[in-house]
Amino acid sequence: MHQVSSAARTEIGPSIEELKGTAQVIRRDIITMIHAAQAGHPGGSLSATDIVTALYFRIMRLDPADPHWPDRDRFILSKGHACPVWYAALAERGFFDKTHLATLRKLDSILQGHADMKKTPGIDMTVGSLGQGICAGLGMALAGKLHGKDYHVFVMIGDGESQEGSVWEAALAAPRWKLDNLTVIVDNNGIQNDTFTDDIMPVEPLAEKWRAFRWNVIEIDGHKMEEIVPALESCLYRDPPDSAGAEGHQPEDCDTTVTRRPGIPTVIIAKTVKGRGVSFMENVPAWHGAAPNDAQAQAALAEFAEGLR
């Protein structure tokens, strides 16, 4: 359907098993960098890790040597406080040297406490104030259509972030402009800054809300790579590089079948666990915005090392 702009930059991604391994590397880097900074948001970084890994290592068309490549796919972490996962993925993918990770939130760092597109290679949009990244993604998708480009725009929002009214302004607008080159992923970890989302201002039922806004809704387990990859591939505006066609496309190592719906934007509601991968952080609201001390960081890294997950 669409011409891939630069075949040389198109890669067939790693396998599901390889992706799982990469996700653990990224989790390790998240803990290491937040520990070094002694500030940051581990919970929401870890809940987003598997999806962000799939995007950067299998789904998205990118060129780490040319972060401003006009034909690249875009990713916006609208829940910008979780940027350690973004930084770790970009570094692992080769956008910048990993030594920068230790400078997170420090003076003169390229890694701001919330992501700054002018400071960090690979960051497609400055984020931090919630409810804005999704609108910026909408603008990029509109521009893509206007320019006749086949790139895809992925935006990740949080379930807590869904309390922001501007999220729903964008939700209203994307179907009106038939933005099937835009995919929103809800990192539905059920916890926001103060405590559990249900105890503050419930946002469920999310799927029904998005369906009512006329979106194509896919619900997945946001930690099962076998569900993440086909869901993301199914909504790509162009054909995935390793498939013959979009209709009923089923990667060999994945266990779900999903179909693209032309003219309709897709939201992937991913059930996730805040703090996923570190036993004592999982589903504990206090780890939304707290850094591990030395002992806690060691314990977390030990869990990754032992491959407990």
């Binding site: 104030s129 990244g133 609108c135 603008g139 521009a143 501007s166 607008a173």
Partner: protein, 341 residues
Amino acid sequence: MSDHPSRYHHVLPEIVEQLASDKPFGAAKMQATRYSYADAMLELGERNPDVVVLDADVSKSMRTNDFAKRFPERSFNFGIAEQNMMAAAAGMATTGLIPFASTYAVFASLRALDQVRNSIHYPRLNVKIAASHSGITPGPDGVTHQGQEDLSLLRAIANSTVVAPADPVSAKLAVHAAAAYDGPVYLSFTRDPVPTIYSPDFPLRLGRAVVVRDGWDATIIALRDLVAHALVAAARLAEAGLEVRVIDCHTLKPLDVECVLRAAHETGAIVTAENNVIFGGLGSAVAEVLVENHPIPMQRIGVRDIFTESGPYLALLDKYGMSARHMAEAVRQVMARKRRA
């Protein structure tokens, strides 16, 4: 008959002639500068395929629906959703488009200010914000629709350029200058008609204020719709033998510091005039420069610490102390202070 036409620069002769009369703009062509914006966008649309116009359900009021008719594929009406419009404009700008996000000043500067700050100005994206109904120019609509703080709010944001053109001629030039500039620009337009006071040779360059009337007794530094009233004040003072310089400070930020200081040194007394709150806008900007460089008697004309009200535009200007007679009185006061000093 007016005083010394040669003291005026870029002001139409027929305007100069009647400034001191009872009906100073009786012969002037009146137009709201929001329409000058819409006209300029049609020209820009022809010239630059990257220019897109974003609306928030006031495209009829701002006449950007003309652009929508001519360039439907480059026109996006977001409905009543200014926050989405501003952040989407930022996203569009990352791809090389030049979005002009159009709405009223209150919504651009208040409703969507977080988006304007964090998504547009912080990453310094090439978005133009076109704000109509600035100041109390939508008189009858009342305070909810009067952008009486927009200039102050936008000026406070880093990376901002704030432009408030005085008349239809300079408004169109300002739109073209904003399009040629790489970075965010806030353009402030009027809802109500204002007189066409300038000739087409008006030298609008961003950041360069224009002396539109020579004088050495005092200076009125004005912007947007109050420049015309400042010219009237100067003409009336001239009848009393006072020669007042009038500066059109169309670019509030970056302020033309050199022009302000030259006026301070050469005239020794300054009145600022803005249809905007007196906090943080033109008066504040000029005061900051003077107090750090060359303190002289100065007075600010603008909306005091008060919410205004519904009413005809010119009646509101008068009630809230921003008409020509208030400026003339302020000039007399700063000159008295200058003499005492």
